[in-house]
């Protein structure tokens, strides 16, 4: 009898082999089903990458602002924060004396006043841009306090960039360019840079000829696209002497209690609002959460469609192989053997879909990022889609779980066939 055979410790590998061969019998059908699973996984991975990446981008952008609290003119805090993070128009201004009042608060570790304005690119003559992109964000900064707030800022080095420095505080024609601003305008240290600014209350713009004295290294933040001028000069050029856009503040001890106390103290001033960047972060995340929910709904629908597709494919396969299943039962296959085989086929198909889908998501992540950014202003700079090994791992695990459940019914149905009926039906 069979007792001269030894138990096979690798018998599962033979089931795998048979399952793979069964899947290869109908390559087009198997391929289309895997494509369906892949698509669902691609959407899910991209969504996961977007959720993670966006939070990371917000964290990074906010951390790289260098301050935890902003004092700004009353208005929409989200709009103001977005402007600080990524640039924008429709700015509101604070009276300059606010700075003098706030700077002596004992809880403040460091404070920097910033004036932000929007200049036209006309005169640069380098590129033919669309009208809506034809502006520059100009930041007027007080170098000493700005450097304290952002100690990581360095000047770009290399041919044409060496010798970069900050402008003198009283200089009227020196400018420092952010990395991308310089790259976009193709400017190097010593070059001339034109900024066309319309002063407040004046109908005609004024073109200013400036000399580039330094180009900043890449920071991955809004600073990269910014043109920096001395604070006083900027306010003068924009026709807003003594005014400010924000006060960036770092507290000695940043926690919820200190933040609340600080807010309470300074919200008494009629013109200002105090915005904690954690609050900004929550607002931005909350706004994007709606869009993410929509995408998640699409992902869920794709997963359901893939789930039904997998069940359909495996059921068809089982139906086509009814006779074979009967024969296998006649040859000694128990219910669990048939169940295992059909289940393996389903799980392997979904595993393949998970792997292919994850690869597609990784390869297409740049496209997804560009697409998202082209549809909506996300309020942050830098990468907003971050696909990590953990996301890929979860996606593949999810695909396997999908196969696990999708395979249950076809496998149960196949394993429940009575051999003689299965053989006769197939014949």
């Amino acid at each position: 009898m069979t007792n001269h055979y030894k138990p096979d410790p690798f018998v599962l590998s033979r089931y795998f082999n048979l399952a793979i061969k069964n899947l290869r019998r109908r390559m087009v059908r198997t391929g289309l089903t895997i494509a369906g699973v892949s698509l669902a996984v691609t959407v899910a991975v991209s969504l996961g990458g977007f959720m993670l990446g966006y939070r990371g981008a917000i964290d990074k952008s906010i951390d790289m602002l260098g301050f935890q609290v902003m004092i700004m003119a009353k208005g929409c805090p989200y709009e103001a924060a977005t402007m600080m993070l990524k640039g924008g128009t429709g700015l509101l201004y604070l009276p300059g004396e606010i700075y003098d009042k706030v700077r002596n608060d004992s809880e403040i570790e460091s404070i920097t006043p910033i004036f932000v304005g929007v200049a036209q690119k006309q005169g640069s003559g380098i590129r033919e841009d669309s009208a809506e992109k034809n502006f520059l964000i100009v930041s007027g900064v007080e170098v000493a306090s700005y450097k304290v707030m952002k100690p990581w800022i360095n000047f770009k080095s290399g041919p044409g960039f060496d010798g970069g420095r900050w402008f003198s505080p009283d200089s009227r024609n020196e400018v420092v360019l952010g990395f991308e601003a310089a790259e976009y305008e193709q400017r190097k240290v010593g070059d001339t840079f034109f900024a066309t600014i319309t002063p407040a209350g004046k109908p005609e713009p004024v073109q200013h000829e400036l000399k580039v004295v330094g180009i900043l290294d890449r920071t991955g933040t809004q600073d990269d696209g910014t043109v920096f001028l001395p604070l006083e000069v900027t306010r003068e050029y924009f026709g807003r002497p003594g005014q400010l856009t924000i006060l960036g503040i770092k507290l000695k001890q940043f926690n919820a209690v200190n933040m609340r106390n600080f807010e309470t103290r300074w919200l008494k001033l009629p013109e200002v609002q105090v915005v904690g960047l954690q609050q900004v972060k929550n607002t931005l995340v909350g706004l994007v959460a709606t869009a993410q929910t929509m995408i998640a709904a699409v992902a869920v629908i794709a997963i359901i469609v893939a789930f039904i597709g997998v069940i359909n494919t495996i059921l068809m396969s089982v139906y086509e192989r009814t006779s074979e299943i009967g024969i296998m039962k006649a040859l000694g296959a128990r219910r669990d053997s048939i169940f295992q085989l059909i289940w393996l086929e389903t799980v392997m198909m979904c595993l393949a879909g998970g792997i292919v889908g994850s690869l597609m998501a990784v390869i297409g992540s740049n496209l997804v990022e560009k697409a998202i950014k082209s549809i909506a202003d996300m309020g942050v700079s830098g990468s907003i889609v971050q696909i990590t090994p953990a996301i890929i791992g979860y996606a593949i695990l999810g695909a396997v779980i999908l196969g696990f459940f999708a395979g249950l019914y076809p496998a149960w149905r196949a394993s429940s066939m009575r051999p003689v009926e299965a053989i006769n039906k197939g014949n």
């Binding site: 009898m1 069979t2 001269h4 055979y5 030894k6 138990p7 096979d8 410790p9 690798f10 018998v11 033979r14 089931y15 048979l18 061969k21 069964n22 290869r24 019998r25 006779s323 074979e324 024969i327 296998m328 039962k329 006649a330 040859l331 000694g332 296959a333 128990r334 219910r335 053997s337 009575r418 051999p419 003689v420 053989i423 014949n427």
Partner: protein, 229 residues
């Protein structure tokens, strides 16, 4: 007399077709002994396949008693019937029923996978040699002739060293010469291995090579002869 491997008495199999009760098998008594070839003859629809399906535990009788290798199979669940079949019965079907994606060797070793046993290359080679297919070991079924495919099916049935080989119309899809070679193979296996062979056939000439030839009509045994005696 050799050991009784299959013993059935009063075996009935009725089907319900609408309001009509079809008596596919209507009270059959039969014994199969070790080492004998028993052929079941009869016209189409006489109950040949129904009888061997019952005797090989692929189907459950409506009534009657059945013992296989000393074990009563009355009232057993499907999984329990599988256990009875495993290692006791080997099957050969009319249409060969090979898995098209597996090679000859893989098809032959398939039953061992379901038994959780490791194939023995020497045993497989011996069986391949016994059915004359040593040079076809790595071929796929589509690369074989009908006779070769039936030999693979026989080799597959033999791989787990069953006590009884059940063959339903094993020559039904083969030409006369190939059919004769298959029957000769059965005779040799029975003589050399002591294998009991239970087969159905339309062909009375093939039936004549059996130790016993049982003829069915309308679900009943109408004659039993010993052609070789």
């Amino acid at each position: 007399m050799n050991k009784i491997l299959i013993e059935a008495s009063g075996l009935k199999r009725y089907y319900q077709r609408g309001s009509e009760t079809v008596k596919a098998l209507d009270g059959v008594d039969i014994q199969i002994h070790a080492g004998e070839i028993v052929s079941i003859l009869g016209p189409s629809g006489c109950g040949k396949t129904t009888l061997i399906n019952l005797l090989s535990c692929l189907d459950a009788p409506t009534a009657g008693k059945l013992t296989v290798d000393g074990k009563s199979v009355d009232g057993l669940t499907e999984d329990q019937l599988v256990e009875v079949r495993r290692g006791t019965l080997g099957f050969v079907f009319q249409n060969f029923s090979l898995l098209p994606t597996l090679t000859v060797t893989e098809n032959i070793e398939l039953p061992l996978m379901f038994l959780g046993l490791k194939p023995d290359p020497i045993q497989t080679a011996n069986i391949l040699a016994a059915v004359g297919l040593t040079d076809r070991a790595t071929h796929l079924p589509r690369e074989l002739s009908g006779g070769q495919m039936q030999r693979v099916a026989i080799a597959r049935a033999l791989i787990s060293n069953p006590k009884i080989l059940v063959a339903d119309e094993p020559t039904g899809n083969l030409d006369k010469a190939t059919g004769e070679s298959i029957m000769a193979l059965f005779q040799r296996l029975s003589a050399e291995e002591g294998l009991a062979i239970l087969l159905t056939t339309h062909n009375t000439a093939f039936g004549a090579i059996a130790d016993r030839a049982i003829t069915l009509e309308d679900g009943r045994i109408v004659s039993e002869v010993r052609p070789s005696s």
